[in-house]
């Protein structure tokens, strides 16, 4: 059965299909949890988070509207969110300082331009792709996986200060790139 067929069956409350989805996606779900949680998670945490992901999938089954071919992405996003929530709950997630996370653009966007619709996503993707490979890696690790600067530096064999500087410069570059692409005053 394809993922789509399994999801369709799950929506009808079909238990074997649910079980088959669990079987199929456990390796991926665990991979995402491990990537997001890294050394912040124990073996028991992995079990707990993965079971929460599958529980949510069951609870939401009747309202699942997943575009064909996007099943993996859907489950991946659910898993990341669940992992971050878990880390927050256990106070094992160091939130990004606001000043580090904020990107200042000169003017307000109109409500119709509020991020993040499809076009904006494309613009942002385009802007992010303009960053160097190192900058992209750092951005993903810092702003998507919320890894500590110290840990990123250690794993990449860089100085902490170098990572911080690269992130700062990357932010400036991103700001400029976004302005160029119309997200500007």
């Amino acid at each position: 059965m394809t993922d789509k067929e399994l999801i369709e069956q799950l929506k009808r409350g079909d238990l074997p299909s649910y079980e088959a989805l669990m079987e199929r996606y456990t390796p991926y779900v665990l991979a995402v949890i491990k990537r997001v949680g890294k050394e912040r998670l124990t073996y028991e945490d992995l079990e707990e988070i993965a079971s929460e992901v599958f529980l949510k999938l069951w609870q939401k089954r009747k309202k699942l509207e997943i575009q064909a071919g996007k099943e993996k992405a859907y489950i991946g996003v659910m898993t990341r969110n669940e992992t971050l929530n878990y880390l927050r709950k256990c106070k094992r997630l160091e939130e990004l300082p606001l000043e580090e996370d904020w990107l200042e653009l000169s003017e307000e966007l109109g409500p119709e331009q509020q991020l993040l619709n499809k076009e904006k996503r494309s613009l942002i993707r385009d802007a992010l792709e303009q960053l160097s490979e190192t900058e992209q890696t750092l951005f993903v690790r810092r702003y998507f996986y919320f890894e500590k600067v110290m840990d990123i530096a250690k794993s990449l064999g860089m100085k902490e200060q170098t990572v911080a500087t690269k992130l700062f410069r990357g932010k400036q570059k991103l700001e400029a790139l976004l302005r160029e692409r119309g997200i500007k005053g």
């Binding site: 079987e23 079971s51 599958f54 996370d101 990107l103 991020l115 993707r125 992010l128 993903v140 919320f146």
Partner: protein, 496 residues
């Protein structure tokens, strides 16, 4: 305007997450995740599996108040049971756990003595049969060696006619728990009937064999014995001494080119055995018994008889044949008897026929009055109505009906499941019969190579069990909510 970089990056999360490669997951972790998830679902009242199932039944039975009441009672009972079923059920049925859990009921009857605790944990059962999980642990918390077993192990159902039971056992990965699984089938209602478990003497069992100093040529009889085995005087024959089981060689004779060896065994307790086998000293190999080998046993006296048939032999071969006595040797670890009494609750999550159906047979027809199907198997009850012939009624037709007619389970999605008769009884001249059916094929119907493959497969799958072929577990579990009908011969019987 201010934007969060984390939000910007998050807008690309699908692409980022897609890059992550799957990791290898150990079976144990997979199992634990599945188990935890299902436990959470059960603990969550608004979304139990059971409610899904009962809603479906409700739609079909809105006009039948009584049926609805039965369904609701059933669902409450099962849900309560399923919420706290024992670990063993996950260990044995991990791959089908969501199908099985709604049918599981916790028993939790326990007895401790002589350093061992025996607990009847859980049952997965319909109203006339099912699987019972029984765990054994050491009171001091230590591990088993992994080669222990009870010298005798019996599960008996009182107040029913015919009952069949078989069991196997295995150890948990840390060897701190030993689990017996019993497959019980009755031709009656099993629920609320007293069930007794008796286990005695934990031991390490070593199969042994010794040569029987008998010259087959000297004791060869010219003719087969005229007296039926059951009518022979007890104690007749040559005794092959053994402390647990008296084996007597009763007859050695030829039927054409077939050498027949008849034995009588009287064991102190049921389950203790010894067997004789034949070795060709020219090749040093065991000679296979042909399929004509038969075994029968009497209920009370632990007396059983076998007739082993060896093909392709002549009198000239006899001096080269050696009779070997195979038996078990016991190294006792804990002596005593562990006895438990328990009852199974009814499982209303079954499918039933609504009226009588007639199956045409050569000499008349057979009525099927009731079919009831559960997750592990089902019962068929009815009566054969034969045309009167000059010879009178031929009761063997009922036997043929219950053992030979093809039975197919038809599922709503169009798939079919082959069923076979596991246990049957006949009421004599009135033509009444009862049959217990299971999914799959009888063991005898598999070719030798296939049996060997299935045995190996079953061994590989030890511990994390799947309902593949083992001698005890059903070949597959029946997803009850997907069952549409049962087809016997050409007659389709809808199940509700």
């Amino acid at each position: 305007m201010r934007l969060k970089v984390s939000n910007l990056v998050e807008s690309l999360q699908e692409e980022i997450l897609k890059e992550i490669d799957e990791v290898y997951v150990e079976e144990e972790l997979k199992l634990n995740i599945k188990r935890k998830t299902l436990e959470k679902i059960y603990a969550n009242n608004e979304s139990s599996f059971k409610q899904e199932a009962s809603k479906k039944v409700y739609r079909r039975t809105t006009k039948r108040f009584l049926a609805l009441v039965a369904v609701l009672i059933g669902s409450v009972g099962i849900l309560v049971g399923a919420m706290s079923v024992n670990d063993s059920i996950y260990e044995w049925f991990s791959e089908n756990i969501s199908v099985i859990l709604p049918h599981a009921q916790e028993i939790n009857a326990s007895v401790s003595q002589n350093g061992l605790t025996v607990t009847v944990d859980t049952a997965v059962a319909g109203n006339s049969g099912g699987l019972i999980l029984i765990s054994v642990t050491k009171d001091d918390g230590s591990s088993f060696e992994g080669n222990e077993e009870f010298k005798t192990f019996k599960v008996m159902v009182d107040e029913v006619g015919s009952a069949g039971s078989s069991y196997e056992w295995d150890f948990s990965q840390d060897k701190k728990k030993m689990t017996y699984i019993v497959n019980l089938s009755v031709l009656d209602t099993l629920t609320y009937k007293p069930v007794t478990l008796k286990a005695s003497d934990l031991a390490i069992v070593t199969p042994k064999e010794k040569e029987v100093p008998i010259n087959l040529k000297e004791i060869l009889q010219k003719e087969p014995p005229t007296q039926d085995v059951f009518d022979r005087p007890e104690g007749e024959g040559i005794s092959l001494q053994h402390p647990d089981c008296d084996a007597r060689l009763q007859a050695v004779y030829f039927e054409g080119d077939k050498l027949c060896i008849e034995m009588a065994y009287t064991s102190k307790e049921k389950g203790l055995w010894q067997r004789v086998s034949l070795v060709d000293t020219r090749t040093g190999k065991l000679i296979d018994t042909s399929r004509g080998s038969s075994e029968s046993s009497t209920g009370e006296s632990n007396l059983s008889f076998t007739k082993d048939i060896y093909e392709g032999l002549t009198v000239a071969d006899l001096p080269y044949l050696k009779l070997m006595n195979q038996y078990n040797d016991y190294e006792y670890l804990a002596l005593g008897e562990w006895e438990l009494h328990f009852k199974l609750n009814p499982n209303e999550n079954v499918k039933k026929s609504k009226r009588t159906y007639k199956i045409p047979v050569e000499e008349g027809y057979v009525e099927v009055n009731q079919v009831e199907l559960s997750i592990v198997g089902g019962s068929i009850e009815g009566k054969a109505v034969y045309n009167e012939t000059k010879e009178g009624k031929d009761i063997s037709l009922t036997e043929d009906f219950t053992s030979q007619l093809p039975i197919i389970l038809r599922m709503k999605d169009g798939t079919k499941v082959q069923m076979y008769h596991y246990l049957s009884s006949y009421g004599g001249d009135n033509g009444e019969y009862g049959s217990y059916i299971k999914p799959g094929k009888p063991w005898e119907s598999y070719a030798e190579e296939e049996k060997e493959r299935l045995r190996e497969e079953a061994l590989e799958k030890r511990y994390v069990r799947v309902p593949g072929f083992t001698s005890i577990l059903p070949e597959q579990f029946i997803a009850i909510e997907k069952v549409e009908s049962l087809q016997i011969k050409d007659v389709v019987i809808p199940l509700y």
